[in-house]
């Protein structure tokens, strides 16, 4: 390094710093603006959903006036929904299935991911690829054989069947994500065991 370069190194950053600062501010506000535009675009359908949920059936079937706003807002739809005896059952079912699916998928994929990524054994790489490839068979095609299996297990028309099906569909992808995480977890963790 020559002295000249060193002097330049001291002088230039001062000027550059100011412009960089301005540039950063612009970039920041530009990012906010662009994100704002995307958020508005992304939220149009949910907004419309909320609006529609506040309309009465008569207002919807009337097909008149500005569809983007509610002219006679009503909470009747929500009241009806919560008063529906079945709905509570559906809601509980959903909550239960979700809980089971998440916990089962987590346990299976964390275990497998750790095994595949950190304690690699012969062929673990091929197996990991194979796990991913299960997605190549469209779900829609799995339902007939799945029905057979569920039938053989005596779980037809049983909510519990879903607790078996949903994790199956979720686990391969979870495993892949978890493999990344466990590969990066501190190696010292291993040594303690």
């Amino acid at each position: 390094m020559s002295g000249a370069a060193a002097t330049a190194g001291v002088l230039v950053p001062a000027r550059r710093h100011a412009s960089l600062h301005r540039q950063r501010a612009w970039a920041l506000w530009g990012s906010y603006a662009a994100l704002g535009v995307f958020v508005i675009m992304f939220l149009v359908p949910p907004f419309y959903m909320v609006m529609t949920s506040l309309k009465s059936p008569a207002e919807i079937s009337g097909q008149a006036g500005n569809p983007w706003f509610v002219h006679h807002p009503t909470l009747q739809n929500f009241i009806d929904l919560f008063m529906m005896r079945d709905f509570r059952g559906f809601f509980l079912n959903s909550a239960m299935i979700t809980t089971v699916t998440v916990s089962v998928s987590m346990v299976i994929s964390v275990l497998a991911a750790f095994g595949l990524a950190r304690m690699g054994f012969k062929g673990s790489q091929t197996l990991a690829t194979g796990v991913f490839l299960t997605y190549l068979i469209p779900n829609s095609l799995l339902f007939i054989p799945l029905f057979q299996i569920i039938g053989a297990l005596g779980l037809i028309n049983n909510v519990r069947a879903l607790a078996l099906i949903y994790p199956t569909l979720a686990v391969p992808f979870c495993t892949w994500i978890m493999m990344g995480i466990s590969a990066r977890s501190p190696a010292s963790w291993m040594k303690r065991h």
Partner: protein, 447 residues
């Protein structure tokens, strides 16, 4: 069918809810056996309630344990479960089958000649469409049901048809009695004229050119009225016939009068077109009227149901039946047959009929005199001409009949007929459309 779509969307709205089957489990003291039945989840909730009560009574009387599941036709669920059960050779004993499904599962269904034979002996003949769809090679493979069975005649706005098209449908097809003074004048030509007049005042006929069943059933009725068959009963492709050309020439004029969005119509679009007051006439069962009673009372009070228009070869009413089949793998066929026979007894059919506000059409001609169609209102008598009464001189028809069912089912489900109309609308010539259809049909034959 309007209802399928409406409930499909409703069910989708409930999201996961749709995937959980409502369950009715009737256990009686000292039950000797067990039988399970998959029922069509009726869009009129009371219909399900009455059905449940009847099944409970049956279970009590016969000391059988009956497990009944309601399966929505929403998003094709009833079809999917059915196919899965047929493949897995496991599931319910009795399954509610729609239109083509007896033919789709010839090898999986137990013949029910005895049950249907006794019912026919008691209640007389069914209509031809029922026979075509339920009877395979001389054997009844399913018991025709009323639950979900519907016809799709015209459903029109009294005032608009009168003021714009000069058709007084209430006078032509009165809401009681056994004569229809306006029947002879109600032809496909009259239909075209009315469509034109209504289109002029901005109330287009809400006829779809999509591929869902409402569009297909309408096209089927029009084809049949001109004696036009795409494939004849022997299985020969008969697209290039004068009759088909005549239909296409008619359609060429009609499609221009339909709503701009006709090609993207599904089975809910026509309902909404009527309920919103934008349309003068649709072809549908009375479900939009029933919905309008609550959401748009003025429209409901101005709606009238009447027979299909006639063509040179007769008057053909679109008919969409449901039936109950017993799987070959069923564990308790005796109880299944008893249950079906019981459910189709006149008093039971009528009780369900009253609960479903006359939506269901019984398969037996002798049951078409139920009071509900006379009393339903407003306007009084609007449903009187909804069922296919003998004096309407209509043939109950399913599109693509009388083609061999394995070909007909494809013509029906892939919407070949309305697609031909849609192609006319997009500017293709009659000859182009015929050539396209011929090519499609050849592949249906080979598939």
């Amino acid at each position: 069918m309007s209802i399928n779509k409406v409930t499909r969307r409703k069910a989708l709205k409930l999201g996961v809810a749709a995937s959980v089957l409502p369950l009715v489990h009737i256990r009686t003291a000292g039950a000797a056996g067990q039988v399970s039945i998959a029922l069509w989840d009726h869009w009129v909730g009371q219909g399900n309630d009455v059905m449940k009560k009847q099944i409970a009574a049956f279970a009590e009387k016969n000391k059988v344990e009956v497990k009944a599941d309601l399966i929505p036709s929403a998003s094709g669920q009833i079809l999917m479960v059915e196919n899965a059960e047929a493949q897995a050779k496991a599931g319910h004993d009795i399954y509610a089958l729609s239109v083509w499904e007896a033919h789709n599962h010839v090898d999986d269904l137990e013949p029910v000649d005895d049950v249907v034979g006794r019912l026919i002996a008691k209640y007389g003949k069914t209509n031809d469409a029922v026979e075509y769809l339920c009877k395979v090679k001389g054997h009844w493979l399913a018991v025709p049901s009323s639950s979900g069975t519907q016809t799709k005649g015209p459903e029109g706005r009294i005032s608009i048809l009168r003021d714009a098209a000069g058709l007084d449908v209430v006078k032509m097809f009165p809401g009681s009695g056994t004569t229809c003074p306006g029947l002879d004048a109600w032809t496909w030509d009259a239909h075209l004229k009315a469509a034109e007049a209504c289109a002029k005042v901005g109330k287009n006929f809400g006829i779809g050119l999509g591929t869902t069943s409402d569009s297909v059933d309408f096209a089927g009725s029009l084809f049949a009225a001109y004696g036009a068959e795409l494939v004849n009963a022997k299985g020969d492709i008969t697209v290039r016939s004068d009759a088909v050309r005549e239909v296409l020439e008619y359609a060429q004029r009609l499609v221009k009068l339909l709503p701009k969005d006709a090609v993207s119509y599904d089975d809910a679009s026509n309902n909404r077109a009527l309920i919103s007051g934008q349309s003068a006439l649709i072809f549908n069962p009375p479900s939009p009227w029933a919905v309008a009673l609550k959401d748009a009372p003025a429209v409901a009070a101005d709606t009238w149901h009447f027979p299909a228009p006639a063509g040179p070869k007769g008057r053909f009413l679109p008919y969409l039946p449901y039936m109950w089949g017993i799987w070959k793998f069923a564990k308790n066929k005796t109880a299944a047959k008893e249950l079906l026979e019981y459910l189709m007894q006149r008093e039971n059919v009528e009780a369900r009929e009253n609960a479903t506000i006359g939506f269901d059409i019984p398969p037996f001609v002798s049951m078409l005199d139920f009071k509900i169609w006379e009393t339903a209102e407003p306007p009084k008598g609007t449903l009187w001409n909804y069922p296919n009464h003998p004096w309407h001189k209509q043939v109950a028809h399913i599109a693509a009949m009388p083609a061999p069912p394995e070909i007909a089912v494809q013509i029906y489900n892939q919407g070949t007929m309305p697609t031909m109309f849609a192609k006319l609308l997009s500017g293709q010539s009659v000859n182009d459309v015929m050539a396209w259809a011929e090519n499609e049909l050849e592949s249906f034959k080979r598939a």
